[in-house]
């Protein structure tokens, strides 16, 4: 009797917990789509930079594109890889909505999410350092700021950082949500 009562109680508490798990998984899917849009937008915004100033001399370049700085190339590559990963992880997230009790796939998703978070943060902060240098220069190392000449290039690269850092925040929330869903029952 005690045993059967205990089993009934366990089943009753399992139902709302499963409902909360499902809600967490749906939120996970929505955040994943948001991060996908952010990283894709950042990659495209940085990758299509191309500014040519209307005058030229023989020795100084007056054309700026993202290829000129290898850090920006890394930024575009990192954002492209992360957006591809997010696209491929959407089916796994949908699977988690249907089966809220899956554990191993959630652990795999947490580990992959953390690796992608590290890659994304590395690309975003490296290009943030270069954007800061482009805006301000460094007097001690005799590095001149280039933003006074290349206005729209500078605006583009600064704006593409916003999407990337937003995606970083979304990834942190994703990892937290996955951890919470993993431990509930």
């Amino acid at each position: 009797m005690k045993g059967s009562a205990a089993v009934e109680l366990a089943e009753a508490t399992r139902a709302p917990s499963a409902g909360i798990n499902r809600g967490i998984s749906i939120l996970d899917l929505i955040l994943r789509i948001v991060a996908l849009v952010c990283t894709l937008g950042s990659a495209i915004a940085m990758g299509t930079t191309n500014e040519t100033l209307p005058f030229f001399t023989q020795f100084i370049r007056f054309r700026a594109e993202y290829n000129d700085l290898p850090t920006f190339t890394f930024f575009v590559a990192a954002n492209a890889v992360v957006s591809g990963y997010l696209l491929l992880s959407l089916p796994i997230s949908i699977f988690h909505i249907m089966r809220s009790g899956a554990q191993n796939s959630r652990i795999l998703l947490i580990i992959l999410d953390t690796s992608m978070l590290a890659l994304l943060t590395a690309g975003a902060s490296a290009s943030a350092a270069i954007v800061y240098l482009a805006h301000n220069g460094n007097a001690k190392a005799n590095w001149l700021s280039i933003c006074q000449q290349f206005n729209s290039f500078c605006e583009r690269i600064s704006g593409s950082l916003i999407g990337s850092f937003g995606a970083v925040t979304v990834f942190i929330l994703l990892i937290l949500l996955s951890g919470m869903a993993l431990s509930r029952r």
Partner: protein
């Protein structure tokens, strides 16, 4: 007698058996649960101990990186070069014109950059230009300061989270401290990777320069500074990998058994 014994046994046993069975089942359930839980939850303790060890090593790496970057300033020594011009006596107006030109240049040059200044001493007949070149430390830039501050924050967070890690070793099945550790470790990973990557961008520029933006490589002059800063960036990346392992361990330990 056997029969009577059997009868007594058969009469007595059901009573005893029923009570014993009920008590036995009631006592078996938590005992069985305890027996089932102990060996199954044992791996969590191992995971938590690994977590503690990685935490200590990540803290050491973060402190080393912050210290290497913080003590990396380097000032090249003074050196002076004398340029001496002799002015002829009868060229006084020319001399005055030349000295006035040099005075203008001195003012012009010493204002445009704080890297070198020109002093001019007028003797009666000679004017000499003393050129002193003095270079400052370059690790006062905001990126290097951000690196030191971020690694210091991460190192102190890792130190303060050691008690929480010990709590997860002792209480294996508590999910709250583990989820808190997971979240805070993720934030620490972000901060470490941000500091390391921005430092790596600056170090790459210092080693190689960039032709299209006319930024020259400065590592040939600042040899020691470059070595220390590169070492600091490597240390921060090691700390980032260790914190990544910490997050993975927390995720695995959160599994419901």
């Amino acid at each position: 007698m056997m029969r009577s014994d059997d009868h007594s046994a058969t009469i007595d046993v059901p009573h005893v058996e029923s009570k014993a069975v009920i008590k036995g089942k009631a006592s078996l359930l938590p005992a069985a649960a305890a027996v089932a839980a102990r060996p199954v939850g044992g791996w969590k303790k191992g995971v938590a101990i690994f977590d503690f060890v990685f935490r200590v090593s990540a803290m050491v790496a973060a402190v080393a990186a912050a210290a290497a970057m913080g003590t990396s300033d380097q000032t090249l020594p003074f050196f002076t070069q004398f340029f001496q011009f002799e002015a002829s006596y009868d060229d006084l107006p020319t001399f005055q014109y030349v000295s006035s030109v040099f005075k203008k240049q001195r003012r012009c040059i010493s204002e445009s950059s704080d890297n070198f200044k020109i002093e001019m001493r007028d003797d009666m007949l000679l004017s000499s230009i003393v050129v002193k070149i003095r270079t400052h430390n370059v690790n006062n830039s905001i990126i290097c300061r951000f690196f030191v501050i971020a690694m210091a924050i991460v190192a102190s967070y890792l130190l303060l989270s050691l008690p929480l890690s010990i709590v997860t070793i002792v209480r294996r099945f508590a999910a709250g401290p583990r989820i808190l550790l997971l979240f805070l470790d993720t934030v620490a990973l972000t901060l470490t990777t941000a500091a390391g990557a921005s430092g790596a961008a600056i170090v790459y520029l210092a080693h190689n320069g960039n032709q299209s933006t006319n930024w020259l490589a400065i590592c040939q002059q600042f040899g020691d500074f470059c070595q220390k800063v590169s070492g600091a960036v490597v240390g921060s990346f090691i700390a980032a990998v260790l914190i990544l392992f910490l997050v993975a361990l927390s995720a695995m330990a959160l599994r419901r058994v």
